[in-house]
Subunit: 428 residues, 2 copies
């Protein structure tokens, strides 16, 4: 199995200003490509140290990824280190220079000398053209070793790994043992319930290099299964029976496959398939639900719009909430949630309306309605119900959980499953 | 300045299942204690590699923190490596064994031999008693070097660093210099413009242990300055003249101090101070602007609400946008942006209205209005203008940039600065 090293450069990573999410992303990427990721070394903007570690990695691994230190400022020294290490010289790449100038023109920024220097690269490298930023990636082949040098900006790094490095790796390291990995995403079920009670004992499946992991995150729990083989096909075959079992035991809970599958996109597909439109009335989530729905490309096809109703007047005037109900039951109540959902659907002329109203915190709680109390309203083609949940003391987590529960409830309703996230009970 | 190394052990960190947040937390902890954190090395559960890196760190640094690999399973080998490295032997610590048995009793778990082995530690260590878990921390003093070995579970590691390691460090490294660090946050100015043209040459300030870094992120660029001194006061004094210069050259661009200062919270404070209220009309940002505004605790004081106007009908009916202008100029236009901002302020009865309308992408672009074209409208106490920007091809980044520019524009308007993010020109 070929060895890979990741070298992350930047003082901000060492002093804890920035969490090294790049290394984790690259680690997963390379693992799936069949590499054994043996070291991640995080180093300061220090010439001698960077040189020492790259030099060692060239000797002790098959592939090295270096990220960071390619910016236009004086502390960005990665390019200098590599030029010296390879006894190379810098040359200007015209297409890169034009691209940088173009980026500045489009944004109407002033172009400075330090920006032009980003178009210089060591002569022995192949440029990995960076559509998204001003620092080009660089690819070096030295005997049996390959080296990719990438900017540290996460979305530029990911773009270059996916669009430029991926093909080069497969050409340079052909016929490598690979891993097949599948991700099954769930929402609205606790990790321990999912693993112990729903999926159950998997020990008979875990041989022949098959692995299972439950990965909890704010949006739900992802089940990852993986297996090693001398081809993608061979590795994938080992996963078939386990995947069958997962779908048999937990199929209704799996909203999608693939690490990057988003619940809002799955709900969007269901809305498209059933020819429905949606509008959103948000109080406690304050726009986060709409924002998640509209993160999906093409969402304008089914998302008509929404009302952020923070003030009571907005709830009354723009959503048709009854003023007496607001006074008697309070804004965080079943009646108001139901009226908000119906009101927004009616005002925006959508087939579905959903609403959120709750005590996001940190203030505003009471004995009867503590921080974390949330009502969610649903109006689906005339069917109306509300769910009440008790989340946490954390404002942001309360917003995120509410969004997740609303979307997962929509998914289950559109599929007619008849169950609800966290076993919440629908109330009329 | 004393050097520290962090060695993080665990395959899950290398294959990208777990992000190494421990290293970032420890990095910040040690930086504030006055250490120069020179390396973070993340290693697999590999005997030879762990031994090599700990051995090197003992020679090349003053303090080493090792986390992970202390669990009860066969792949947890950190303790074995250290026992061998120091030519030591394992002894059982009775108080630790009793604590472990006690934890198992309380949780009603079965106690096994592998759990009892967690009470064994190398003879030459001082036990760092772990109230929160079964793996004790270990402290070693070898000549001028100290080594702390801690479990990888984040809350156990943090407990041990705060309650056990902190005092030991101060005793072992008395009178050590400490660092003072300050953060200045900016938005709407590119990193290179900020560093080269606005702040300018700082070389005369960068002596006596003073450092400067520009940290770009999706929300803007943070300027970090830091200095070393034999006390917090001494270190802080070194930063005074540099901070003065920063405010002299870039004061208008600095929206706040401190690493965690949020632009939406700064704008919220200004709205509170000036007794203004705001409402938001979002098309291309789809709720993200409202969500950022309402992430701030207490935002219900000035945020009245908003309209997510994805469909043209919503723009017409709920924001009073002129249908002919929509047809003639298109939804992404100055006229529509201006009408949306005025319309939402008028409908929600707020003193300020802001709007966003643009081609978020990936589809919907044209030669005249490519993906990334965004119009932002402002209605501030009757003053009305719009800004046009050209962002990227990435949907999410376009949403984030738009939110940032709207908030930064509001900040500058509320302060009467007369400048605009990215030098955009206001249009009536």
């Amino acid at each position: 199995m070929r060895k890979a090293h990741i070298i992350s450069i930047g003082n901000e990573l060492l002093i804890g200003d920035t969490i090294n999410t790049n290394a984790s992303w690259i680690g997963r990427f390379l693992t799936e490509k069949g590499f054994f990721v043996e070291q991640v070394n995080t180093l300061p903007d220090d010439y001698a140290l960077i040189k020492e570690f790259i030099d060692l990695s060239l000797k002790e691994s098959d592939f090295t990824v270096v990220t960071g230190g390619l910016g236009p400022t004086h502390d960005d020294i990665t390019k200098k280190v590599i030029t010296d290490l390879f006894d190379d010289e810098l040359i200007e790449i015209e297409s890169v220079l034009n691209h940088i100038k173009d980026m500045f023109r489009k944004r109407d920024f002033d172009f400075s000398r330090s920006n032009a220097e980003q178009a210089l690269v060591p002569k022995s490298c192949t440029v990995l053209f960076n559509d998204l930023g001003t620092a080009p990636g660089m690819w070096f082949e030295k005997k049996n070793h390959a080296l990719a040098v990438l900017p540290g900006v996460p979305y530029e790094m990911k773009f270059l790994m996916n669009k430029r490095v991926s093909d080069k790796l497969e050409n340079f390291f052909p016929g490598q043992d690979v891993w097949a990995t599948r991700y099954f995403k769930t929402a609205g079920v606790p990790e321990s319930t999912l693993s112990d009670q729903i999926v159950g004992d998997l020990s008979t499946y875990l041989n022949n290099g098959v692995q299972v992991a439950y990965l909890p995150n704010p949006g739900g729990v992802t089940i990852r299964i993986s297996a090693e083989g001398n081809s993608k096909t061979a590795a994938n075959e080992k996963l078939e029976s386990l995947q069958e079992l997962l779908y048999k035991n937990a199929g209704d809970l799996i909203y999608g496959e693939g690490r990057d599958c988003e619940l809002a996109a799955v709900v969007g597909d269901l809305l498209n398939q059933t020819n429905k439109t949606i509008s959103v009335a948000e109080s406690c989530t304050g726009g986060m639900l709409s924002s998640d729905i509209t993160d999906v490309a093409g969402s304008s096809n089914y998302m008509l719009g929404g009302v952020i109703a923070y003030a009571n007047d907005v709830k009354i005037i723009h959503l048709g909430v009854n003023e007496n109900d607001l006074i008697n039951d309070g804004a965080v109540s079943k009646k108001v949630a139901l009226q908000m959902a119906k009101g927004v659907a009616s005002n925006m002329n959508s087939t579905i309306g959903v609403s959120t109203t709750g005590i996001a915190g940190p203030g505003g709680g009471s004995a009867e309605k503590p921080v974390g109390t949330v009502w969610m309203g649903f109006w689906i083609d005339g069917k109306s119900f509300a769910l009440k949940a008790q989340f946490t003391n954390d404002r942001l987590i309360n917003k995120q959980r509410t969004v997740m529960v609303v979307l997962e409830t929509l998914r289950r309703e559109l599929l007619g499953l008849g169950t609800y996230p966290y076993n919440l009970k629908p109330q009329q």
